[in-house]
Structures are given as structure tokens and as C-alpha cells.
């Protein structure tokens, strides 16, 4: 009897039923449950303009993403003081995708379809971007994505304010090749899409520069890898072939500290084998022992240390807004700064928050970089950027040792990869296509607007 499922006495059965019923019906009122604002029928033309902020505030990615939320809040507050845009105030809608990729998609849906935000600033990892991409394309939203990434993507609904590979990786390699005289290359990366693609591009690029396969070593390690002994020893041996050797590191976040420590301990100094990293910025250096990293390099489009009045002003404003002097300002934060201001301009240009209008208006908008000169939103929804090479300093900051003479135009489709060498993205009519095959003369994939 009692073994058969469960036994209920009649008095309480009602309760149980009620319990389940409440649960199921409560799903109906989820919109109120999950978002403070009541579901509006359609984006209102009056009242505050809502801006979505989609960055992980908890979980493993919180380290990198939480500061971006602070930047956005600062920018929005500042803009509201200036009277908002088109006479309307801006209202931030912050959600926490908790470093959980499916949750990113869910929250994106909520922001666009329930909160009816005018634009979303968010995502960090490639996988989070990939998981929200279909949502933005389906609901025709606007995403401003502030992080350097692997490229090979060009969506109409996304504005990539971070660097494409040719705006970070390739100049860095040029620097090592020409300024430091590196002849032998180690491409060391964490095993996920960004390093894989970047290294593929670099491999092709280096080959095109006449680097033989014997002088190229590519190596992948898992996330959070901490036991670098063998790997570093490999690099050491590889570097003992009598040619100047350099390491191009696409190692992700947490694995970096043990890596540099091991380098230091095995006696590899930046002067022997320089390491240039693409994922190590001020935020990553904050609060780690930088001694082992001294003199190693990083390639970004911005460093907090760049010496321009505008930069000093913005950084100061940020530190004030979070009233913490120890907080740092890094490349993706600058990207958000530029992206946000570009979006404002676009809204004013379009005279509305209507997505299609804004998307078209964005292209061609220019705004000053914190590192000087102007960033322009190109028809491929990427920015023109300067590329800076910085050396790690004792104080967790970078010192710029080299900088591209001019601005670099992004190539989301790498010309060094066979599958994408004929592709370009151009969202201006007549082309209006994210992946246009200039040879076949037709638009590939489903990116046609």
C-alpha cells in the first residue's frame, strides 16, 4: 500500500492540489515575477527609453563582466544629467545571466520582448554571444558587443565594438616580428573557439610571411589549467633552437597566473621569450602578483595608462562613480563607452528608438577613442581602431611600447582563412549582407536583411 507511490489523507489533498495549481498558474504571471516593469504592449514613444544591460553578475564570468555593468550605469546616469536623449530619460534594465549560456538567451528574450529595451549592451564570451544571436535576429533587437573576438561573424543586429582578429592579433604578431625580431612562434591557447580561430588566422598569416612549419608550435590546454610545468618546458625546449622565440598567448583568464608563474620559475624572462597576450588586461591583472608578468606584452586597442586628457577624465569619472580608486578601466569598458555614445548619436540621427531606423543610423557614426583619434562604425558593424602594444608594469598597468601608425579597419571575415577569404560584410544597401561572397557575387547564409 504505502509502497505504492504516496498516500494522502483527504484533508490535505486539497492543499496539494492547490500547491500544484498555484505553481502552474503562477507561471502565467512570470513577466511580473522576472522583471520589475510590467509587460508593455509595445515600445512606448514617450516616457523613459529603456536600455538593457546583459552581463553576468554572478558565476565564473562575473570577474570580467560585472565592471561593464558599472560602466553602463555610469554612462547612463551621466547622460540623464545632460538631459537624456531626444528629451527622454534613459532607464537601465539590469539582468544577471549568471555565467550560464542558456540563461543568456532567456534573459535576452525577456529584455527585448518584455521590457522592450531600445538596445542591449552585453555578453563577453563567444558562447554567450552565440547563444543570444538567434534571439536578437529573431526579435530584431540591437546588441552592442564590447569584447575582442574571433570574427567570422557579422550580424545585422549586432554592433561589434571590440576588436576583430586583424585589429589585435595580427598587429601584435607584426610587432614581435619586426620590433623584437621573433623568428620562431609558439601559439599557446585555451581550447575554445576564440583561440582556435585566432591561431588559425595567425598560422596562415605567419606562413604567408614565410615562417616554416618547423618554426611554429600550436598548443591548447583546458579552461582553468593550472599545472603548466610540462607545457612551459615544451616552450623552453622549442625556444632553444637558436632563433628568437616568441609566444602568442590566447590563454583565457584564470589559467594565466599559473602560466606566468611557471614561466618565471623556470627562468624564462620576457627578455628571453616574450609572451604577448590577447586576453590579459588591467582587470585580469588587478589583484594578482604581477612580478612574474613584468615585461610581458599585451595587445589591445586601449590601455588605462594612455596619456590623453579625455581618457584621464573618463577614468576619473568612472572611479568616482563606483567611488573606489583601485578599480581599473579596460579595453571592453572603452568599447562600451564608444558604443553607448555612438548609439546615442544614432538615436538622435534616426529621431526614434525604432530598431531598424537605429541600425541604419549607426553606420557611419564617428566618436573619439579614449586613446585619441576617432572610431567610426563601418558598414560591417565593426569599428576602426588603433592597436596598442603594452608591457606589463609592476603596478598592474600597461605601458604602451608600440602603436599602429593609423587606425585599423576591422575584417570580420579573415582574408587568411580559405573559407572566408572571399567574404565581406556590408549592411548598407544595395549589398545589405553580413557575408557577401565577392567572387561568387552573392550573399551567403541567412544573413540577408
Amino acid at each position: 500500500m504505502s509502497s505504492r507511490g504516496i498516500t494522502i489523507d483527504r484533508r490535505r489533498l486539497g492543499l496539494l492540489g492547490a500547491g500544484l495549481a498555484v505553481t502552474s498558474s503562477s507561471l502565467g504571471v512570470l513577466p511580473d515575477l522576472v522583471s520589475p516593469a510590467k509587460a508593455a504592449p509595445a515600445a512606448p514613444e514617450t516616457g523613459p527609453i529603456k536600455v538593457g544591460i546583459l552581463h553576468s553578475l554572478s558565476g565564473t564570468m562575473a570577474i570580467s563582466e560585472a565592471p561593464l555593468k558599472d560602466v553602463m550605469l555610469m554612462l547612463i546616469a551621466a547622460q540623464n544629467v545632460k538631459g537624456g536623449v531626444m528629451g527622454r530619460q534613459l532607464q537601465p534594465v539590469v539582468v544577471d545571466p549568471a555565467s550560464n549560456w542558456p540563461l543568456f538567451a532567456e534573459k535576452a528574450k525577456q529584455l527585448i520582448s518584455v521590457d522592450k529595451v531600445a538596445a542591449v549592451f552585453g555578453c563577453w564570451t563567444s558562447v554567450s554571444r552565440k547563444s543570444v544571436l538567434p534571439v536578437f535576429e529573431q526579435l530584431n533587437g540591437i546588441l552592442l558587443y564590447p569584447v575582442q573576438y574571433e570574427g567570422q561573424e557579422c550580424s545585422r543586429n549586432v554592433f561589434y565594438t571590440g576588436a576583430a582578429p586583424n585589429q589585435q592579433a595580427i598587429p601584435a604578431v607584426d610587432y614581435l616580428m619586426n620590433q623584437v625580431g621573433v623568428k620562431r612562434w609558439v601559439l599557446e591557447g585555451t581550447d575554445y573557439v576564440y583561440p582556435r580561430t585566432t591561431n588559425k588566422i595567425l598560422e596562415a598569416y605567419l606562413k604567408s610571411k614565410g615562417v616554416g612549419p618547423a618554426d611554429l608550435m600550436i598548443n591548447y590546454t583546458p579552461f582553468g589549467y593550472s599545472d603548466w610545468q610540462a607545457e612551459v618546458a615544451k616552450i623552453k625546449t622549442f625556444g632553444s633552437a637558436g632563433k628568437k622565440t616568441g609566444v602568442v598567448s590566447t590563454i583565457n583568464g584564470d589559467a594565466n597566473v599559473p602560466f606566468y608563474k611557471e614561466l618565471g620559475n623556470q627562468g624564462i624572462k620576457a627578455t628571453d621569450i616574450p609572451v604577448v597576450a590577447f586576453s590579459v588586461g588591467e582587470q585580469e591583472l588587478a589583484g594578482i602578483d604581477t612580478k612574474p608578468l613584468l615585461g610581458h606584452l599585451a595587445a589591445w586597442n586601449y590601455f588605462e595608462s594612455v596619456d590623453t586628457p579625455l581618457n584621464k577624465e573618463v577614468v576619473a569619472a568612472f572611479k568616482k562613480s563606483v567611488n573606489d580608486d583601485k578599480r581599473v578601466f579596460n579595453d571592453p569598458m572603452e568599447a562600451h563607452y564608444i558604443g553607448f555614445n555612438m548609439w546615442l548619436k544614432a538615436v538622435e540621427k534616426a529621431g526614434a528608438t525604432d530598431h531598424d531606423a537605429v541600425i541604419d543610423a549607426m553606420v557611419g557614426v564617428a566618436y573619439p577613442n579614449l586613446s585619441g583619434d576617432f572610431a567610426t562604425m563601418m558598414p560591417n558593424h565593426h569599428l576602426t581602431k588603433p592597436v596598442l602594444i603594452g608591457e606589463v608594469q609592476g603596478n598592474g598597468q600597461f605601458n604602451v611600447v608600440w602603436q599602429t601608425p593609423g587606425l585599423v579597419v576591422a575584417q570580420p571575415w579573415s582574408p587568411y582563412l580559405p573559407e572566408s577569404k572571399n567574404l565581406i560584410g556590408d549592411w548598407l544597401p544595395p549589398m545589405s549582407c553580413g557575408s557577401y561572397d565577392v567572387v561568387a557575387g552573392k550573399c551567403l547564409g541567412s544573413h540577408k536583411a
Partner: protein, 376 residues
């Protein structure tokens, strides 16, 4: 018996009725209406129902045979990957590189030919078969080894965790050909129904509800059969059942495989609704989370598993919005409170007599064996 039927009825009504209600108000009422349920709520509910299926699978093995599985999310994810592979092939030439056969991520890592284990996934039925077979076979092998060599109690729990952990690492590797860390996403349509259409997501949710209900009925049928009673017997006094001439291992194996398959189907339904499948689904934490859903709802009461999954996830959705930093405290606290003060879960509160009076004894016997194993 009478009362038990009523519980079942209540559960079915709530699952089917509730979801139907939502679907209707989503499709019939215009977006302007107050009664309109936004699209994302539908996919949200769909997600919850998938979790409920997973919870059901966990309850079947934990509640009735006392196998505390810390790796069931692995079967869930495998089912999801099987479905994901189908959806990937469905994209066809609409991918970024317009390659009719190769998924984008393969071109990404420079493959020019489809690996053999991707063959056939362009057929929906084949994919469905895999959804059932892959988790089933893996569970079969794993269980056959484990149960035959009488690995039990915490040891079993630990190696189930190791299993899902190993799979996690494996699927992270890009060379595996399953999209590495990014997994698979950007799906276009399923059986020709575009995934981005409201009616599709509503339909998927309804199907999920239907599957959940039938899984519930199946599980109920199993646990009510003589087989089910043997399971309880094995859970509480495995040695005794041996001396009665039963082979506990074969009973465990059967229910283990069934449970894994249910979990796999849940995963298959999960993927089209959340639009992405990637290795993070294998994370050991997910499996343990599923166990706590069951614990909250009430272990060994199938209805409780469903209730728990939905309630906990509602709380998660709400908390991650309202107070992100509180979330982990609340969730962790839930584990402790439930195990300390609510060993029979929410349903237990309603049950006149212990739903599984055996539970504490069951544990203590398990404990003794553990104690014996570690004695000295």
C-alpha cells in the same frame, strides 16, 4: 489506491492543463491584451518542464532504488546533443558559410569533411533513435559494470560524478567535433517549423508537457508493478533480496537505463527550446541541482520531483533577477534545510503517512555499509 489515483490526476491536470492554458493565452490573445502571455514565458515554461522530466528520471533511481546519481545531467545533455546535431544538419546551406553539409563550427576549425558519427543526423527519426540509444547504451555499459561489481552508495555517486566530469572535459575539446566550448546554436527550424515562430515554441512546450505526463505515467506504472516493489526492497535491504534469489544488479540496471533514456528525451526537448547545447550542461553542479529538485519536492514520490523542479527553477529565475548575490546563499541554504528538516520534501508535508517510510532506514543501512567499508 483511490487517493494515489487522485494525486496522479492532480499532477496530470496541472501539467497538461497549465501548459495548455498558457499556450492558448499566448496564441489566441493579441500581444496588446492583458491576458497575452509573452513568448519568452512559453519557452521558459518549456524549459522548466524539461527540467521536470530530468527530475522525474532522477527520482526514479534515487527515490526507488536508492542510487544517488550525481551524473544524470550527462544523459540529459547527451540527448540534447543528439537533437542538437539534427538541428545543426537542418540548418544546411543557411549557415554562415553556406555549406550544405558541414556545420559552421567545423569549417571554423578547418574540417572539410563530415566525421562519420555525424552521418544520419539529417534524418529526424535517426536523431530520435540516437536520443534514446546514446544515453541508453552509455547507461547500460556504465550500469552493467558498476552494479555487477556491486559498487554502491557513495562510491557509485562519486563515479557517476566522475563520468559526467569526464564527458564535460571531452565535449570541451574542439577536436571532438561537437562544437567545443561553444557547442551548437543558431538553429533555424525543426521538421520545417521555424524555431523563431511563436506557434513553434508553444507547440514544443505542449509536446514537452505531453512527454512529461507520459513519462510520469510510465514511471508510475513501473513503480507500482511487482518490479517496483522489488526496487523498494532492493533499496532498503539489498542483501535480503539476494537471499530471496533476486539479482539486484539486473533490476538496478533496467531502471537505471530507463531513467537515463527519460533524461535523454528531456534533454532533446530542452535544446530546441533554449536554442543552444554546449558542454556546460555536463557540469557536475547541474546533476546535483537536479537531485535537490527531487529532494525539495519529495523523494520517492514522482509528483514531488515535478513539483520540486518547477518550484526551485521559478525561484532561481526570480532570484537571479531580484537579488543575484543572494541566489547562491538561498540555494545552498535550501540544500541544508531540506536535508535537515524536510527529508520527505514538500509532498511529505501533505502525506498523511510517510510516502517512503523507508527513507531514513534506507539511508542508515547504506550508512552501515559505508561505515563497514571505511571501518578501521
Amino acid at each position: 489506491m483511490q487517493l494515489d489515483r487522485t494525486t496522479t490526476a492532480v499532477t496530470l491536470v496541472c501539467v497538461l492543463g497549465g501548459s495548455a492554458l498558457l499556450a492558448v493565452s499566448n496564441l489566441l490573445y493579441p500581444a496588446t491584451s492583458v491576458l497575452h502571455v509573452p513568448d519568452f514565458v512559453i519557452s521558459l515554461v518549456g524549459k522548466y518542464l524539461c527540467y521536470a522530466i530530468l527530475a522525474l528520471a532522477v527520482d526514479l533511481v534515487w527515490g526507488y532504488v536508492g542510487i544517488l546519481t550525481l551524473g544524470h545531467a550527462a544523459f540529459f545533455a547527451l540527448g540534447g546533443y543528439a537533437m542538437g546535431m539534427y538541428l545543426m544538419r537542418e540548418i544546411g546551406a543557411r549557415g554562415v558559410y553556406a555549406n550544405p553539409t558541414l556545420p559552421d563550427f567545423m569549417i571554423f576549425i578547418g574540417w572539410n569533411k563530415l566525421p562519420w558519427y555525424w552521418y544520419g543526423f539529417d534524418h529526424f527519426l535517426f536523431a530520435l533513435a540516437m536520443v534514446v540509444l546514446v544515453p541508453g547504451v552509455l547507461a547500460g555499459l556504465f550500469g552493467w559494470f558498476a552494479f555487477r561489481s556491486r559498487v554502491s552508495g557513495v562510491y557509485l555517486s562519486i563515479i557517476t560524478q566522475a563520468l559526467t566530469y569526464a564527458l564535460l572535459l571531452a565535449f570541451f575539446r574542439n577536436d571532438m567535433g561537437f562544437g567545443g566550448n561553444n557547442g551548437m546554436t543558431d538553429f533555424k527550424d525543426i521538421l520545417g517549423f521555424p524555431l523563431n515562430r511563436e506557434s513553434t515554441s508553444a507547440g514544443l512546450m505542449l509536446i514537452t508537457a505531453a512527454v512529461l505526463s507520459s513519462a510520469f505515467l510510465l514511471a508510475r506504472a513501473i513503480t507500482h508493478s511487482r518490479f517496483g516493489r522489488v526496487l523498494v526492497a532492493v533499496r532498503d535491504a539489498e542483501a535480503r533480496t539476494r537471499f530471496l534469489g533476486y539479482r539486484p544488479e539486473s533490476y538496478k540496471l533496467v531502471v537505471w537505463v530507463v531513467s537515463a533514456v527519460i533524461a535523454g528525451i528531456g534533454g532533446a526537448l530542452y535544446v530546441p527550446q533554449v536554442g543552444i547545447i554546449n558542454p556546460s550542461e555536463f557540469a557536475p553542479g547541474n546533476s546535483i541541482e537536479a537531485v535537490i529538485w527531487v529532494a525539495v519536492g519529495g523523494r520517492g514520490t514522482l509528483a514531488g520531483a515535478i513539483l520540486g523542479a518547477i518550484i526551485v527553477n521559478l525561484g532561481k529565475t526570480w532570484l537571479t533577477n531580484a537579488l543575484p548575490e543572494i541566489w547562491l546563499f538561498a540555494f545552498g541554504g535550501l540544500f541544508i534545510l531540506v536535508t535537515l528538516f524536510l527529508p520527505r520534501g514538500i509532498i511529505g508535508l501533505f502525506a498523511a503517512r510517510p510516502a517512503i517510510r523507508g527513507a531514513p532506514e534506507a539511508e542508515s543501512s547504506a550508512a552501515e555499509s559505508a561505515a563497514r567499508e571505511v571501518a578501521g
